[in-house]
Symmetry: C2
Subunit: 720 residues, 2 copies
């Protein structure tokens, strides 16, 4: 039994049990969780001690003296239709008063907006009045039968994550933790002083685990105390009159409420980002980075490490953002939901190490009597889905979170995690810090580019979403594939052109979203650049509604290259003749069944040159086309499955004209995958399935090896 | 056996056989078909004689002297991408040279357009040259990687319908009939003179059956002699330099090629019509009407009737258009594909009678040995689907078309038609010219309004279309329903408001099409008008993507009234809580299974007030909402079936708050329908199905009658 690379959560009065489990899992670090404290004996032990640190909450004594320094958000009221000239809008009606308190300190007539949503025009401040007792506004000269909304500022008076944990774990009358805004003068002072004091008072802590920094992602509850809105990327909770003022100073123009309200969509990452919003993100990132650096410098001065939890108040610290390298962080830890989120953590640059927090979280909603089988399965599946990504880009450490007392009641779970942690250490022992061989460079093209690497198609971290899973599967498939993955933005292409080392560009997503691109496809420079690049040999794969934007007779603006377009009803008069799929094709070799997820209706082939690889329900779901020297492929959707991962892999190698290279370290069985580590002359084969699998591993056309792998097994071999 | 109301096709040398079948079917009129002539004995018989008359074809002796008077069309070349500064486009490559001949008589630099389809801009005429030998143009300073098209004028040198019949019936080297354009001086003269002479020479003809007049709907063949483009509503084939000149004189502004090319969509009726295109339609209608009137006046002077076939060269004679009443036509005959097309014919105003041509057409593609069962079934199904519409709005006459010699080989078919014609006469005998009772006024709202009554969602007459059938079912359901149906346009609403006698407005169709409406939904007057009308008690039913147009936070612009909206990806961060369907509801009472056709993804309920009536695949397919005093209903789609006809009927009565009225003449069995004729104090019950059905017919809550009907049976009863 080896040891190391594993972090264990512990609790008060649980020292002996913690030692037992630490021994079993080979843990070398101990952490606390939200709501727990560690025993002093533990702190004195040789274990590395992580301590959660909340810079901007858990100090109600302070913030209750300065409630004007709570963070704020712009919120939109419900829509109210005018049936008279006088309309009243009770704008807080759909919000949770325990979480949100209307900001009456800053002049509503200056910061708020009443908007006629039927026309989109702003109602003059002279035409409405405010009743702060009732949290309502009255419009006096409304246009009858129009709908109106109020955009208003509210203080966040209950930290949304603590609120979530509080409500989920039924913490009853435990005091609500009130957040504070580090931009404000007292809070700024307090945050720095408290950090200094805390560092002095906690000499036994080795790693300060910031959870996280200053601004919470958007998490808003409704009048029933249920989640109303959640956006892991939302910058809403960083807004305040002071932030707006400083923005204006820095960027030279003022933002208005609607820049944040965004018709009620709040700049979801699926929205095509406006320049104003991108400027705002940039501005907040700079401020956050500067302030984070002050804290990490203090941490380092006290001889400790600074680790960031990737989540909660992570706004402005995006690890793939322009300023992350200036944060001074030593490490990032994040929750691992699957291969995609693993890569989101493990690919982070500029830190010494990364750590993954695996599932399930030891919370009572999972760890209850009778649920052991599910708990064990979740742990196993979580590991297996992450493992293929670890083999591509390893996290240095792993760990779990929650209450160890709960987990300890399930011996089979303790056993399973022991196996998982051992396998994790084994991987590191084998690869010795080297990287698996990759044979292709693949770039995902969307509006967010590198900033949201491994974060496309995500609403709430790793959660299923009906409208996104058919695209998210692309990321998940890539996360464990033998290809280099990069994320590029349309702006990158327009500014720098396309990097000639890229083999294949993927554009995936629903029409008119930030991921497929929308109006940007009317930009002739973008089209020309891609045309030239593909024509000269580049590979282009479109998934769903790629380049979807109605313009000049086409729905897909890259239809000429893809050889297919989507019928939206305008060209029904044109006969569609190409309705037969090729019987066999490199791309679909070995596919037993197809699953395209949520259907993208009525894609059709434009000419006899397009190879149709799957045709059903009178529409194309897979096709391939030649465009000059380049190859293009259309896929209707790609929900994650091992079949679809294989389909995408074959598509990528085909598009890149590297079909032969694919066979250099290839498993014939789609449930098995091969990773080759040339530096250490080793390779491994993993079985991703719950059953025994037989496979042949090939290295080019000559060599091959026949293997039988047990359920979930990983085997290591010498590379000849 | 009764007699009358039936028209029979005949042929040369088939007199006796014709007499036999005429007797069997009770025919009182005889017609010729395309390519056939009638025996002289027939012409002298007491039968009413119809003679097909083609004003603008079948006179090659004339037109070959004036080939510059062939009708013309604007056509778009294929799209060609520039890989160099010099680009050649062989613009005729995808067209059928036997049908189309490039117009080099009128200066191409004046009439044609070369368009950069990547930007939509027109290439200066100085930057391209023409090679009339090769039918190609060369652009000299093309922008590399942009796509280009040529919009050019071509003469139609083979009448498209004769061409279709020619190719379908394998007429070999039979001379191609060349069409001519009545707008041109020689042709105009010729058309009038020929008509005058023909009337003199054909004293035995009773009815001049115009097939049709001057301008053919769009029917374009590709380089392989296969259909490339067909639009039953397309005005493309009426364009010529002369027509453009006259348009400019009349309307005060000039049209350009792109007004007709429309990015390659050629103003499909699914496109939101531009004002230019509407002006052009109006202009052509005026010219056609005036010229038709000259012919009908001549026909009347010679003591004959003028009948129009609704199809072929019907442009400008739209029976629901503003000028139709001035054509002087006595009758219209049209092909009956189903209930919708039946109503399209039978509802035509300003004529003495209408006649339906039933299916199957006696053509060799259907009437071949071994196909008798299918032939009989098609005849029966065609009749049954039309019958329910006939009961609502009867055609006065029926008939068949094609080659009687072919039909005569199938005795079971002859028998079936005998039964059908007898049943048809029986209906007229019973109703004595009175109309069935209706209990609701329903209006379909779209961009075309009355002009295209019973013609919405149609590509080619009565043909199935994957993208349209989920909406077309609304018309088909309505065609046999006990409601008054009108067709109104957005323009009508904006100009005149909403007629207060309307009970329910339906808006149906895919997003951004002429049928759902698109951008017009940003017009605040339209929204206000509908809001007020519904709020004060109107019923509103949305089908598919009603009022779909992304604007100010909503996808459906009537979402506030409907209580549902469509998720296009922007509001994924907002929790959707309402996911349970009501167990029972008036609207869905008796529904055993649901079929919504082509799926409209991700419609969700906006609030707890919306009643969800069907929820599956994590989306709403049927819902109902209260909006002030009005009721609204959402239906995801409504392919035609008797279940869905019932679903729509119940929806309409519910939306109108007339649930009780529905039971006044109601069949509990959905396969049976009741029509009540109060004037003659009779009612009938039809069985639309191929099996015996039991049903209870109710008249309000008191009276009811239990009935058993044989397959397809119609029974008549006295109304108490």
């Amino acid at each position: 039994m080896s040891k190391g690379r594993v972090t264990l959560p512990s609790e008060k009065n649980y020292f002996k049990e913690t030692m037992r489990i630490a021994e079993k899992w080979g843990a070398d670090a101990i952490r606390d969780s939200d709501g727990t404290k560690l025993d002093d004996e533990l702190k004195k032990s040789p274990f590395k001690i992580y301590n959660a640190y909340f810079p901007t909450r858990a100090h109600n004594d302070f913030i209750t003296q300065h409630m004007e320094e709570c963070p704020e958000m712009y919120l939109m009221s419900e829509r109210v239709m005018a049936t008279n000239e006088e309309v009243e809008i009770a704008f807080m009606r759909e919000y949770y008063p325990e979480q949100l308190k209307v900001d009456y300190l800053h002049n509503p007539k200056e910061y708020w907006e009443v908007i006629d949503r039927t026309t989109g025009s702003v109602v003059s401040t002279e035409e409405w009045s405010l009743d702060s007792e009732k949290n309502s506004i009255t419009i006096y000269k409304a246009k009858k039968w129009h709908e109106y909304t109020v955009s208003f500022l509210a203080y966040i008076i209950w930290d949304p994550v603590e609120m979530y944990n509080h409500l989920t774990n039924d913490w009853g009358d435990k005091e609500h933790e009130i957040p504070f805004d580090v931009l404000q003068p007292h809070s700024y002072q307090f945050v720095l002083e408290t950090m200094a004091n805390w560092l002095k008072e906690n000499p036994d802590v080795d790693v300060v685990r910031f959870t996280t920094f200053f601004y919470q992602f958007s998490l808003v509850f409704n009048q029933y105390g249920k989640e109303k809105f959640v956006d892991w990327f939302g910058y809403g909770a960083s807004v305040s009159p002071l932030m707006l003022e400083k923005f204006k100073e820095a960027k030279g123009y003022a933002l208005r409420a609607e820049d944040f309200i965004d018709e009620g969509y709040y700049n979801s990452s699926f929205r095509i980002p406006t320049q104003n919003y991108l400027d705002y993100i940039d501005f907040v990132q700079q401020f956050v980075t500067k302030t984070v650096r002050k804290l990490t410098d203090m941490v380092h001065s006290s001889g400790k490490e600074a680790m960031m939890f990737l989540g909660d108040q992570w706004l402005g610290t995006e690890p793939y953002g322009n300023y992350f390298k200036e944060t001074g962080l030593d490490a990032v830890v994040g929750s691992v939901g699957d291969g995609t989120t693993l890569r989101m953590i493990s690919d982070i640059p500029h830190v010494k190490y990364t750590e993954g927090r695996f599932l399930p979280y030891f919370f009572p909603d999972t760890f209850f009597a009778g649920n052991e089988e599910n708990i064990v399965n979740e742990a196993r599946m979580n590991w297996v889905q992450a493992r293929r990504a670890i083999l591509r880009s390893p996290i240095e450490r792993m760990g779990y979170g929650g209450y160890l007392t709960l987990a300890d009641k399930f011996p089979a779970f303790i056993e399973t995690v022991a196996e998982i942690t051992e396998e994790f250490r084994q991987i590191h022992k084998e690869i010795k810090g080297s990287r698996a061989k990759t044979k292709l460079n693949v770039a995902l093209l969307n509006h967010w580019g590198a900033l949201r690497s491994w974060q496309a198609f995500t609403v709430a971290h790793a959660l299923y979403c009906k409208e996104a899973y058919s695209y998210y599967g692309v990321l998940e498939a890539l996360s464990g594939m033998d290809v280099e993955v990069s994320f590029i933005s349309f702006e990158d292409v327009l500014t720098d052109g396309i990097d000639q080392t890229i083999d294949v560009i993927i554009n995936a997503g629903a029409m008119n979203t930030a991921f497929s691109g929308g109006e940007i496809w009317k930009n002739e420079r973008l089209i020309s650049c891609l045309n030239e690049w593909i024509y000269n040999g580049g590979g282009f794969i479109g998934v769903g509604e790629p380049s979807g934007c109605e313009h000049q007779g086409r729905t897909f603006q890259m239809a000429h290259a893809l050889g297919v377009d989507k019928e939206v009803g305008y060209s029904l008069s044109t006969d569609k003749y190409f309705k037969t799929a090729e019987k066999t094709h490199f791309i679909t070799e070995g596919m037993m069944k197809f699953d395209f997820g949520e259907v993208v209706n009525s894609v059709y082939s434009l000419s006899e040159n397009t190879e149709i690889l799957e045709f059903s329900n009178d529409e194309v779901h897979i096709s391939a086309n030649e465009f000059g020297n380049g190859r293009t492929i259309y896929l209707a959707g790609l929900p994650f499955s091992f079949e679809n991962a294989r389909l995408l892999m074959r598509s990528l190698y085909f598009a890149a004209r590297k079909e032969k290279e694919m066979l250099e370290g290839y498993s014939t069985n789609i449930f098995c995958e091969v990773s080759v580590f040339p530096e250490v002359k080793r390779y491994c084969v993993i079985n991703n399935s719950a059953t025994t699998q037989e496979t042949t591993v090939t290295f080019g056309e000559q060599e091959s090896e026949r293997l039988t792998l047990n359920a979930y097994e990983i085997v290591w071999r010498d590379l000849l």
